[in-house]
Subunit: 343 residues, 2 copies
């Protein structure tokens, strides 16, 4: 999702932070940010993504300020398996949105694989039109060793994009079952992109994700593929009826679309708007956001509690002491954990 | 995976626990357990799965005793998407193993979906032959609200099965990307079952799981499907070569099998044995188990730390106090979490 120019902007912003770390001017960044200055937005996100201790305080200050002017956007999570045409869809969808006067920000959650620590995205996604669009802001995924870390930084980036006046925030994730829950918990509408002609086994895999979605678009519905896409639409519409009703009562909608022929893109936006008005009219919109904030607080608290515990030297000493006993099978891992807890 | 008779056994064992909770005779259960008494094994697992406070001490005692006689088995994790024929494969594979004199235990990890809290397995899997086999023990998944909880109970069940003399432990999981890491972290060999003819998009999804596997079997390689299976075998063999080398240096093997025609089952066992001898000869087998125990201890410790924190009334009070401020957007979720931590 990174175009070279974006990477450059990020690296410039980082350099700027490094050179002037003694005097990060939060007031200046914030004032530029709320005028919609893209460089300031890039700088702000780089600041909150920084793992440096000295950036912690200014980052927190900036977020507090941004909080007062954020929240006024529709946040859309988009997922789908590699090959479904996610970038192409977002490129067309985002371009449509800017054409009707919206400002669009695209963020990505890309958890690394637990083994190779590498990216699971084979190649960087591309959004050719949108990356040239002055009303669009595209930011590659935050990096972190944990999904929780990536998720927190993405949530914070959403706040900053909103403060900068972006009224549609798209959070993209790769459909492998790990990060969908995180994206679902930070967006208002969760869109699942599906391919026509994927077998039953694929539906099986996506069941947990299908349960989460508010809408589904069958991609690549063009040329010879159109008929198959229409069939998939009716299949998935039936399938969605088999799931337990969503807690908010919304019945997910399915459509077909083609980024190539520019079909169904506007319809997808209409689906999202219908859902938005439906939510607002039932006071569910704000309620869902409140629940998300509360959940976010809980997750952050858990991370902080664990960080604090594992920083205590007496606990770490005990842990290393017990390692030997554990390996000799003199105690169970559970007993070892209990001893360390009480140490 | 539950046959009615197993459910009955579990419910009887639970009744027996309830009626005699004042005098759970850990010594008696343990002595019966190590003679291979199946009822005692069922009772032991029910005891460690119990969430009742009064069962905690006897459960810990039983595990400590079992630790001294456990560890002598090959632990095999088996995963695959719904529809791949997991139960049918395990039925045939387990029956083959008992026919060559092994005692086989089958445990399952079945994480519930985060939304509906229901099982993601559409219907209960069945193992007709194995469930009648006197040398096989089949236990349905432990239930818990968290994957961590299920995983811990499964690890403990493995220990108990080993203490009861089972020398092959199969841990089955549904291939949706959540529980594979947990199963991988408690087994010696991780077998991925795959269907022939699944498209590229499916391979994309399974990439993270494919990286974890030590071997792959293409199922349903019978009748008209045989050719497709052979093709898939060569495809996946090439695909596996594209992944980064596993840390232990093992190159995963691929074969085809048919539970229907009883083909390739013995070959799968040979694959697992080859891996076992390869691991043992390089001293990796014990090392991997040690790492798993250490990881298990770490995970347990994290759970205990969080439990302890969230039981403190002053923290809970502060959490409820801040909820209001949070909902009014006066503080960020991150700030709220920090305040609760310091409360």
């Amino acid at each position: 999702m990174a175009s070279p120019s974006k990477d450059n902007a990020a690296s410039k912003a980082l350099d700027s932070l490094k050179n002037h770390h003694r005097s990060i001017d939060v007031v200046r960044i914030f004032q530029e940010l709320i005028t919609g200055n893209r460089a300031a937005l890039g700088e702000a996100i780089t600041l909150i993504e920084s793992t440096s201790e000295k950036h912690k305080k200014p980052a927190t200050d900036l977020l507090s300020k941004s909080l007062t002017v954020s929240g006024r956007s529709i946040r859309i999570g988009i997922t789908g398996v590699p090959g479904v045409g996610k970038s192409t869809f977002i490129d067309a969808f985002g371009t449509y949105l800017t054409s009707i006067g919206k400002k669009v920000a695209v963020l990505a959650i890309d958890p690394s694989s637990p083994i190779s620590k590498g990216s699971i995205l084979g190649d960087k996604t591309r959004m050719e039109k949108l990356s040239m669009d002055k009303d669009a802001f595209i930011r590659p995924s935050a990096t972190s060793t944990t999904l929780g870390g990536v998720a927190r930084k993405t949530r914070e980036s959403i706040m900053l994009c909103e403060a900068a006046g972006y009224d549609i925030i798209i959070v993209e994730t790769v459909g492998v079952g790990q990060s969908e829950t995180a994206v679902h918990s930070m967006t208002d509408f969760f869109l699942l992109l599906m391919l026509a002609g994927a077998g039953d086994q694929l539906q099986g895999i996506k069941r947990g994700i299908m349960e989460m979605c508010d809408g589904m678009s069958i991609t690549k519905a063009d040329g010879d593929n159109r008929k198959k896409a229409e069939f998939a639409k009716s299949e998935y519409t039936s399938a969605l009826h088999l799931f337990p009703e969503k807690t908010d009562g919304w019945m997910p909608k399915v459509n077909t679309c083609s980024a190539l022929e520019n079909n169904g893109i506007e319809e997808t936006w209409k689906m999202i708007q219908d859902h938005y008005h439906w939510m607002v009219s039932r006071n569910i919109f704000e309620q869902r956001r409140h629940e998300q904030d509360f959940e976010w607080m809980n997750e952050t608290l858990k991370e902080l509690v664990l960080d604090q515990f594992f920083q205590r030297p007496e606990k770490m000493k005990k842990l290393l002491d017990l390692k030997e006993q554990l390996l000799k099978r003199q105690i169970t891992p559970f007993q070892a954990a209990e001893i360390i807890l009480k140490a």
